[in-house]
Amino acid sequence: MSARVLSIGAGGLGAPMLLILARSLDVSLTIVDDDRVAESNLHRQVLYGPEHIGRSKLEVARERLLREASAHGRRVAIETIDGRFVPENALELAGAHDLVVEGADNFATKFLAADASRLAGTPIVHAGVVRWAGYALGVRPDESACLRCLFEDLPRDTVETCATAGVVGSVVGTVGALGAALAIRLLLGDETAGGTLFHHDARRSTLRRARLAQRVECPLCGTKPSIDAIDSARYFGAAFAL
């Protein structure tokens, strides 16, 4: 049976990760997204072109990925979910897959994905970008540091996103490719694929990595975790502040 991968989003980061996975593996992809292709997306969202403006990203992504997979001799199945990754479906979705990849544009979804994946025992790749920089982090549940070991909780301040601050297209491609490599390593069972933070700064053309340790007091994977279920209230404070 081919690996089952859940992609939260088919935008700037989701697009390159999905494209690489579909070309590289026999894989069953589930894509969650509710957006339509806009002209402002095109410089960074490599699955889409001007002819797709106004169409559902899910529809276009499905067509393109199946075409790419076929051209590369890969057997790829694609399920699409027209909606968002939310507390009501997070645990079920994370538990139904062998790997989660997320390139969400808000902290609420990133932390929700981290929590649901940990509770479901599913590895996850986190990726984020803004302006000239971005990061990728692979997590093996219970075996490596998680997003909450790195950043303890959702920022309550206003933070920059691609929509508010912009992003350089090459950063999305680079970080998306890093995320895809981590995804493949995690699917192959590479025990070293979790717990290293990769940080890319395009203005300096640098890629730095830092090995993360699990925090004893981490609320998700520490010795006395306080997060043992998905409580939607935990994500709301920041979800709408972005």
Binding site: F107, T161, R203, R211, R215
Partner: protein
């Protein structure tokens, strides 16, 4: 101690666009105080009353998260590099 501090994009408005600045200090706390003297407002973006903000990380010489060392009291040597890494949400 002369310390290099790498500044992330969101904080470069406070450092006149510089992505790396020099600072003086024997530990992380005094380096941040020195940064604040030269780039007003940066301390509040990195620290709160409890220490380093929860959604900011500081790495020493690219490898070590100062939380796993001695936090703000982590001792530094001349030539060390601190990298400030904030949480990044963008992706769509």
């Amino acid at each position: 101690m002369a310390i290099k501090v790498r500044i992330p994009s969101p904080l470069r408005t406070l450092t006149k666009g510089l992505d790396e600045v020099d600072a003086e200090g024997a530990d992380v706390r005094t380096v941040i105080d020195d940064l604040e003297r030269n780039y007003a407002g940066i301390k509040d973006r990195v620290c709160d009353e409890k220490g380093v903000r929860r959604f900011v990380n500081i790495f020493l010489n690219e490898e070590d998260d100062i939380r796993f060392l001695e936090g703000l009291d982590t001792k530094l040597e001349s030539g060390d590099t601190l990298q400030i890494v904030p949480a990044i949400a963008g992706g769509r």
